[in-house]
Subunit: 341 residues, 2 copies
């Protein structure tokens, strides 16, 4: 049995999407236990409407919620009866509790992980690794780090590469993931001091399939499985890509509704547009995992629907079922030994 | 009279687009002289087909071309008879030659500027500042630096802000441009050490209208006129935005042509789609200027058409006609004096 803790209060649509997403995962995966953490008076009535195996789900009461406006570290330390703090407490004290899924504050989740859960031995910094759809059918791409570490050195980036590569193999079944370094040109000598040093280190890292530099314009091409970067430029990459797609879709919609003729046209391509919207919908791709933490941590989008919560729980389950933390620990030890040779 | 040097050989469609774009600008702007630099045997026959005032256009022969595969600094130093090297030579020796427009290698243009033209007194680093369309009708946004300087300190970023802001005022008539700092969150305390230091410096810079941090997802919102960033993250921002828009438009096209019904729909919205394509077309927005160089340097897109070359020449003319270099020199001196108080 794998026990997963679900923060029932984080996110814009909590606790209803958190509860129904968690229950859906519970009903699908027989080898799963779930603890929902949050306000009982809200959670219990929602559960009453659902059908599920009651022996495999418990509720842990917490009266407070950490919001995105709270200062992360302070909130984890002072809002002791918040759903996220209680969830971390459970991870710390209950060895059976192996993973946490939350849609709450990214900063607080990072702070809680560092303060309460800790890192896998040998891992220098945990890193966020969200998965994005690409424009090639069925192909996704991971970005590691997408924002946990704004200041990085080359060994951090090497570890992001090793962890991200294992994650894609274990949680998504990607074989021999193509790992690229985010850079401002394709050639080996491009970039700043950090990129040049990292390039050489990645070339010598046996645990990964390093394919060289990637320019940001090629993120959605489907040619790469994992892009390695510092958290600052990774965040810029992730959010400008999301932002551009979103703004362009908005403009398209507005433009198509601006004349009678184009409205008719819009009706005829509606199905195709929904397919594209669906392809780009993060609800279908799970959350951003925090790789390198001693337990599995999955951060779902704040505006997630139940489907996304379900995907996050499944993702956390897959990671635990495939012993990702153990695999990362071994790979990091090997890479470090090789660096020191 | 303002004399502008046009590298006739740079770019994918040279020299035909370079020649016809330059001639179009010459015919429109009466106060303009142009020197086309490149292979006479190709340029002269193209000119023979055009109508223009022959007293205001000359051709300077150059037998070689610097390609994007050449090493920039080496190419400027050794390919002495290349169109770009000859163009820089002219800028250096002829005080009347005040600006250079090139579609050639970005690296070589940067190297040539540093080696042959030099910086405006007080400017620490020249920086690229391309202008992008936003999703709000008639609004554009500049990114400074988009890739000239991968390693930056806070004073560089302050200077990018001052130069970019003046550029938008002088070349595009933007009043009191809204200047934002690219960061991973909107709050003042966000980001790495560089961003925190720069934020404080920008707040105290009287010459600009600093409006705070901008997250990359908001680049195309139309809420900002100029985004200030180091060249590494600026390059990531620019290319991921361009890449995402391009990939999404490709996917839309493919998707709309995939069924009979959607093909009919596509026909009906064709006009609207072309409007959007037109809105996003860099051919309408001139080139990326290299701010802080002692003479005006404009880099057009390698795949520019004649219209884009025309826009680049007009842009260079506007910058010179409004004495941008002089204005930058004064503003940088004032900002530096204020920093040292």
């Amino acid at each position: 049995m794998i026990k997963i803790v679900v923060d029932a209060m984080g996110g814009d649509n909590s606790p209803s999407v958190n509860v129904s997403g968690a229950v859906k995962a519970l009903n699908e995966i027989k080898n799963l236990n779930i603890t929902l953490v949050g306000d009982e008076s809200q959670i219990v009535p929602l559960l009453a409407k659902e059908k599920y195996d009651k022996t495999r789900l418990e509720v842990l009461h917490a009266s407070e919620v950490i919001s995105c406006n709270d200062k992360p570290t302070e909130a984890i330390k002072t809002k002791k009866d918040s759903s996220m703090s209680r969830a971390f407490e459970l991870l710390k004290t209950d060895s059976d509790a192996r993973a946490l899924v939350s849609l709450g504050s990214t900063g607080a989740l990072l702070a809680g992980t560092v303060l309460r859960v800790g890192r896998i031995k040998g891992v220098k910094r945990p890193a966020f690794c969200p998965i994005l759809p690409t424009m090639r059918q069925g192909k996704t791409v991971g970005i590691c780090d997408s924002g946990a570490n704004v200041d990085c050195d080359s060994v951090y980036l090497q570890q992001f590469a090793v962890m991200g590569s294992l994650y894609l193999q274990k949680a998504y079944g990607v074989k021999n993931p193509k790992v690229a370094l985010l850079n401002i040109g394709a050639e080996e000598e491009k970039g700043d001091a950090l990129r040049k040093e990292t390039y050489q280190l990645l070339k010598d890292t046996a645990a990964i399939n390093f394919v060289g530099n990637m320019e940001s314009r090629d993120l959605l091409s489907g040619d790469f499985d994992l892009v390695v970067c510092d958290g600052f430029s990774g965040n810029v990459l992730l959010k400008s890509t999301e932002g551009a797609c979103l703004e362009l879709m908005k403009l398209l919609k507005k433009s198509m509704l601006s004349s009678f003729k184009s409205k008719i046209g819009a009706l005829l391509i509606k199905k195709k547009m929904y397919e594209i919207k669906d392809l780009m919908d993060y609800n279908n791709y799970g959350g951003a995992v925090l790789l390198g933490a001693a337990k599995t941590i999955v951060k779902g989008h704040g505006s997630s629907k139940a489907e996304a919560v379900y995907q996050c729980v499944k993702q956390a389950y897959n990671m635990e079922a495939n012993n990702l933390c153990q695999a990362i620990s071994e790979a990091i030890t090997a890479a470090t030994a090789n660096n020191n040779q």
